[in-house]
Point group: C3
Chain length 336, copies 3
């Protein structure tokens, strides 16, 4: 049985297909008693709307229950550093918190964003890995410093639903402007997902915003195994040519990650905002994707979001079905 879901890579190809098939069945038939008597503990160290609501709703629809702990807001602020002398704000360490909560629950699911100070540290995803190690029960990553695998799983299903071809499908991950320098969890998981799906993936971004080398290396290896391809460019026209999907996301400039100068670099890039005109060279009926939340008229115009290209609400809907399928895989015999 799957014990940890920290990254989409934790699902073998066979298991991934089985989870996606189950997600499709759960979309048609929402409720069952499969998790009756089971409790899933949710720990949110950062804000959430979709993940919080879909986990609570999904477990309930399967007959189970959840509890939610918000460190720093209702619960003690958690220390994550090994060996810390805890005379500051944090009253509790994950070394106690996770094993304790794991005694109350049949699974734990945790959101813990990047610290945003040291790029290498964040890409290593040490905090979520440490928490998973500490957990006595199955453990789900609800977005960590370097990965958002539930999003990737739902997005894979959305691409299947839309019949975007695996082999030959053209997927553009486009950087867009955002008031803050954001971490790499979503772009890293998205590019890896699309590459593993066998698509032709283009990372479209301004100079200075190339994805970190470990993220690209990994995506290229996945593409090599699946018959896909991963390229990078700052040329929008070329990137969009024949595209089936434009997936918008913002991220920090890797060279200035966690530094005050990062915002100056971004200052001249507000025109990196998805507009209807971007789609001129794309395939007919090309879709717009985004993981949400999305800042309207900052990352993408109302026209695109409210038009027929946008599948962002459907993406969010698939979070529910995908996560329920994943939990059944992790918590039931039938899923094993």
């Amino acid at each position: 049985m799957l014990r940890r879901f920290l990254d989409l890579a934790d699902l073998s190809d066979d298991r991934l297909e089985a989870v996606l098939a189950r997600a499709r069945r759960l979309e048609r038939s929402r409720t069952s008693p499969a998790l009756a008597g089971k409790v899933v503990g949710l720990v949110f160290m950062n804000p959430s709307l979709r993940t919080l609501a879909s986990m609570q709703a999904g477990v309930a629809q399967l007959g189970g229950s959840t509890f939610t702990i918000s460190p720093g807001a209702g619960s003690w602020k958690l220390e994550t550093r090994p060996g810390a002398v805890m005379d500051g704000d944090a009253a509790e360490h994950i070394r106690e918190a996770i094993p304790v909560l794991g005694q109350y629950a049949d699974a734990l699911a945790v959101r813990c964003f990047a610290r945003g100070v040291d790029l290498e540290e964040d890409l290593a995803d040490g905090v979520i890995r440490a928490m998973a190690e500490l957990s006595p029960v199955p453990f789900v990553n609800l977005e960590s410093a370097a990965a958002h695998p539930c999003q990737a799983l739902g997005d894979w299903k959305t691409l299947d639903d839309l019949e975007v071809p695996r082999r030959g499908g053209r997927f553009v991950l486009s950087w867009v402007w955002h008031p803050r320098g954001l971490p790499f969890a979503v772009p890293a998981s998205t590019v890896a997902m699309a590459a593993r799906r066998g698509m032709h993936v283009t990372v479209l971004r301004p100079d200075g915003y190339a994805l970190p080398e470990p993220v690209m290396t990994r995506a290229r290896a996945l593409a090599a195994a699946s018959g896909g391809e991963v390229v990078e460019t700052a040329d929008r026209e070329a990137a969009l040519a024949g595209a089936h999907v434009v997936y918008a996301k913002s991220w920090a400039a890797p060279s200035r990650y966690g530094q005050t100068g990062e915002s100056e670099l971004r200052a001249g890039l507000r025109h990196w905002r998805v507009e209807e005109s971007w789609f001129a060279p794309a395939a007919p009926g090309a879709k717009f994707m985004h993981c949400l939340p999305v800042r309207r008229n900052v990352k993408v115009t109302d026209e695109v979001l409210d038009g027929p290209r946008s599948v962002v609400v459907r993406q969010a809907g698939n979070r529910l079905h995908a996560q329920k399928a994943l939990l059944l895989e992790m918590l039931t015999e039938e899923g094993a």
Copy 2:
């Protein structure tokens, strides 16, 4: 089946009576599996005690589940303005949030108080109406800028429980002092409820605190249809003469709504506080009502709240029964 409950007016007379009858049955028999497998999504953009607890408890008693989203506290702050360029605090727009949450739930119920800047805007109740339009599932108003229909529904039941006469019952809505200038959701819903119930309604308030004209016009129309009456006065003795009920509530001066000068106008009115002596001209056994929370010894004295006139706890109890009846009306065949 009822799809939206934004205002008590959304219930026809027949449906209102059916919901009240069902609420009485649910008071005697609290639990059933009527909502088994159903999820109600709660969105609280403002604080709550009664509404939050009674919705969670009520759905659970009917075999269903809830999730709770608090924008700005655990979830992303929500933008409500159409066309906004979202480069400020709010990371997510209701245009995404509501359709997304509606995919996870069988009904949504939302609290979103008045912005308190523009009276006309708040009375139009555009934000809750926009959210209801965006919802793919039945939608309940848990207090908006201009209406608190669950409170009105529960209060109607309380008046029935107390055998306050419909035709001929004398209902006084009295303004009371409060440290802040409050919005019109509760007074507007209360005066409309009492007028529709056919009572003789007196709005007792100091000069400068007449309810906004649209609120009074609507209440008078409801009274005309039901055989009731709605009058306004600043004369307490006259207002209280023969009263069966005094319902205390504070609200801002409409002429200075959202303005800094509003508090100066209120400064001399701290004596507008309900005291036992107020009831001298009232009917024997006249009752004291309030929607809660109530500031003791500011809006009303301990003597009244702790004495036999006060039915404020019973009012709050009826919130549970009324909301459960409403949800069954909106979510089950039997309720249709």
Copy 3:
């Protein structure tokens, strides 16, 4: 049937043994429908991790539901003082809040820490007692100004699990340094629990940190009844000699309770931190206990917490079993 659990003393010896026996059964068999249809209302006026999670999980495992109200964070700030003129921050009084919530729930469970201003007032535990009086349904103390009985109940079970002898068991409650002056709920409940269990209890603390006289008087009376003993000392070697258990906890200097000078008194005491070397004179296999959250390397070293002596995670696990047993005692016929 037990209606209030404000202190371990509310359980007679027979009932205490029955609850402990039931807790052991629940540890082996976690789920049952015993609380089906029941709702437990949780009110947290202060942060929580274990208590919040274990109450939610425990009630769910027994087939019931919970709701959670957090005054001041999502719900109105609550006034607790009788007769207050409420023109400040608090919008609601416990005199309304508790009876109202009690109408929605089959039991209420409340956390309300010490105010930390007046020692006598806090030791009298008036606020939680007032809330219990106001509750129309069974009421559980989830840590008040002066008591943490759910912790004491779980700790008793942990001591039983570890086969620490009742008569003759040597229990050391050791003061440890903490950045703030903490209240007496846990040390008072712990010393009373250990004394009632019949153990030889030593309170080890620096000069100026003797537990308040009412706490010690009560513990000595319990020891007298059970055949135990309670002593105090500042001599660590003597205290630890033959100890079976060291239970670490910090508390304020009673003589400077709520005063600014309290921190100066504590300043020189950072070496009061449990280390492996402390256990040299203890019994072989002596255990380390703590109620959690614990500040690592401030109250106790990593070496102790991560070593075989530490039973802190097990203690927290027993909170779940003990509280479930308690709720069955309070809410079911079988428990009566």
